[in-house]
Subunit: 227 residues, 2 copies
């Protein structure tokens, strides 16, 4: 069978739109973060734990991607942050969905846009959304072999958050092995082990995000001023 | 933007090939099981625990789908069962990949073909492989909301295996809530809680698979005899 190559023209078009999104974000002074993971690694819980610490420092907004339900947007809204739910039958968010959601939900100035992608370690890695930063969240229960098995997701990430470290005593996975496995695929990534449940490690993640966004906002402001 | 609908013709072609695969499996007297889950839910570990009990009863073979590496096929081969690794950049296995792998690796008679799909709760649900039975594996650590958020994967499944129940005392998820959540989306599914780590519940899963395969082999043998 001649396999039909459907990805290329779609990805090319997406890349163009993503570049335009990036310009839109920059012109609006918004730093965008694309948060990706497998289902159930804890993306929404991480947002719930992160937003209360960040919303006093930045004007924050969230785009939630899910196949069905608006459960995640409802959870995020309880932190007092505006959350826009995208329901798509697609296995990933694409640049056009994010553009439409951003235009529809965020007319007010926004410093930080957090985009929670569809729970999937494969497809979202191929679809640039125009984001400044890519963060992959990974549950330690998923095993140390996953970075090697899903390399594209990991090597494109600026930070890899290892969630659920409170479960390490009860599983056959070691933290040093996990960190080594991430760095083998993504040597430049910030690796941030934490537990959303106990709070351990959350401060380091929030500091990383705070510093990264602050630096991006400064760079973007300088660019607009022509510095 | 006009969104390009790439899925339909590809899926239609896949469905045709899947029907042909099903005929090939039937004519060969092989029962095929499509094992699907999110990354790290424990598909390969389940196969490692299941095959030693089944290989004395059935002639077994395994097709392993992964984006990269042949780690999983290597693990399965240690049980003494032939395993054929497919490495694909795709986010799912499709019917043509399975057909090629089956033709390449299994020239000898085979009662049971276990197909371990790519770790992904979205795309594999859309691609029929010609299998007789679909099993979704789900780690309890992924949370009780997942069946509602990924309904297609669950409502098409004949059995849903809830793995890692040994971790239930350490997470904020209850087993009855998980079972209820699966049955709300997939009322007819066999729900099989187990722990590959402690062995609890494995016997019920192996019995389900043994009975299901025995019944299918009998039906298929009768059909070939024109009974």
């Amino acid at each position: 069978m001649q396999r039909i190559d459907v990805a290329s023209p779609v990805l090319k078009k997406n890349d163009e739109l993503a570049r335009e999104n990036h310009e839109i974000f920059q012109s609006r002074g918004t730093v965008a973060v694309n948060l990706m993971s497998a289902p159930g690694a804890g993306k929404t819980t991480l947002l719930e734990k992160t937003l209360p610490a960040l919303r006093s420092r930045f004007r924050c907004g969230v785009i939630e991607g899910d196949l069905r339900t608006d459960l995640d947007a409802e959870r995020v809204r309880k932190t007092g942050v505006v959350a826009h739910q995208i329901n798509t039958n697609s296995c990933h968010l694409d640049a056009s969905m994010v553009r439409d959601a951003f235009a529809a939900a965020f007319s007010q100035p926004l410093d930080l846009l957090l985009i929670e992608n569809i729970g999937n370690l494969v497809c979202p890695a191929a679809y640039d959304l125009g984001e400044d930063w890519r963060v992959t969240l990974f549950s330690v229960t998923e095993g140390a072999d996953k970075p090697r098995k899903y390399p594209k997701m990991f090597y494109r990430s600026h930070a890899v958050v290892l969630n659920k470290i409170d479960l390490l005593p009860y599983i056959d996975v070691r933290l040093d092995e996990l960190v080594e496995s991430v760095l083998a695929v993504s040597p430049g990534a910030a690796v941030l082990p934490l537990s959303c449940r106990t709070g351990e490690g959350l401060e380091a993640w929030i500091s990383w995000l705070h510093e990264t966004v602050t630096r991006s906002l400064q760079t973007s402001a300088n660019a607009r001023k022509g510095v």
